[in-house]
Symmetry: C2
Subunit: 226 residues, 2 copies
């Protein structure tokens, strides 16, 4: 079997797939795509690997696949993931996993990623407070409607890929100086559990986040220059 | 079997699930949730049907499920959908369907729905041109990277749920006076094929779109008052 992963650990779904492969003991050839150098915009990448000019992407024996959630589903169907992490036999759990995986695109990923982008790339933008508000509404929903149901993890008392994907999204705004866990104790405790479960791979993949976060002062006013 | 569908045909994924159920000859009890009256915000709805206060939702023999794509996957696994519309046996096609279903959340739905909302609810907003730009970037990508590959439909020469879901999203901005198909001949021809395939159900479900679109003058300047 030949599996290549095109990724940049700056990208939250790249981290999720990278950690998942490591945790699942799947051998793969890492193919680093330097987003900060715009490698994903080159003709070579967009013509041959991903016409959408994004990461992550896998190449499994020549079959090239984009979209992190589709990649995870594919690895699950290929029986490469542990049943516990990607439950398929339990129909109800499998369906609840689907429900979360579809919810998180607009429910969590979009508002957090948009905040991250505007602060990183337009730190003086007047739009920052409105993006922060949308992010915090999403964190409220995630904290109360998914995590705040008395379970250890998103779908119950067992960790799944849902937790990994969500944790990598929640990690992302830290690079801007905003720690999503500060005001949400439920999220903080859950994050600690997820990090612990996926370590040492989680810490390894998140080293870039730590490095960039450490350079920044925690942001009190969202319009403050970083 | 008892299947209830909570929906409002103003909602694009509600239309997709509604049309899919009709086309697949699945009997269901329609439960209208009047979004314009805020029925989805009532305690009764949010406590008992959908804590996310959205449509569509299904209740299948007491099992309540949210998120249109998760609903479609569930119906597929329950063997309620025709194999042609929701291909599962062909592994490559099944994976490509996954890839599109995950892509469309942020690739198509978010930019079109955000444009729709800002024009409908804040028609004087200065943000409209930037939302229009994002929508048109998405339509460009959809037109060239998915449809513009020489096939009749998104995944090949056979219609699938991917087409239905996308068509319902592309339909939505028409209510604001913006016809997504005007400047994209590839999208227009594909839309005609999708509508024809899913008629009379498509036309029935889209009557509300037609009604609201007919009241509006085609929007030339995005900042023009509607």
């Amino acid at each position: 079997m030949s599996l290549k992963l095109y990724y940049d650990l700056m990208s939250q779904p790249s981290r999720a797939v990278y950690i998942l492969l490591k945790k699942s003991n799947i051998n793969f050839e890492p193919k680093y795509v330097d987003l900060r150098k715009g490698v994903h915009y080159t003709d070579e990448y967009s013509n041959n690997i991903n016409r959408f000019k994004k990461v992550p992407v896998i190449d499994h024996n020549g079959f090239i696949l984009t979209e992190s959630v589709a990649i995870i589903r594919y690895l699950g169907r290929e029986n490469l993931l542990p049943e516990a992490l990607f439950p398929r036999a339990d129909k109800v759990l499998n369906t609840r996993l689907d429900e979360f995986l579809e919810w998180q695109h607009l429910g969590l990923r979009a508002p957090l990623a948009m905040y991250f982008r505007v602060v990183m790339f337009s730190p003086d933008s007047e739009k920052i407070p409105s993006y922060q508000k949308r992010m915090e509404t999403a964190l409220d929903e995630f904290s109360t409607l998914w995590l705040g149901r008395g379970n250890q993890y998103i779908l119950g008392d067992t960790v799944t890929v849902a937790d990994l994907l969500a944790a990598c999204e929640v990690e992302q705004p830290r690079m801007t100086g905003y720690d999503c866990t500060s005001n949400y104790p439920v999220i903080r405790e859950w994050m600690d559990r997820v990090r612990t479960y996926f370590n040492p791979h989680y810490a390894e993949a998140s080293a870039i986040v730590e490095k960039i976060a450490a350079k920044r002062v925690p942001m009190k006013k969202p319009t403050a220059k970083l």
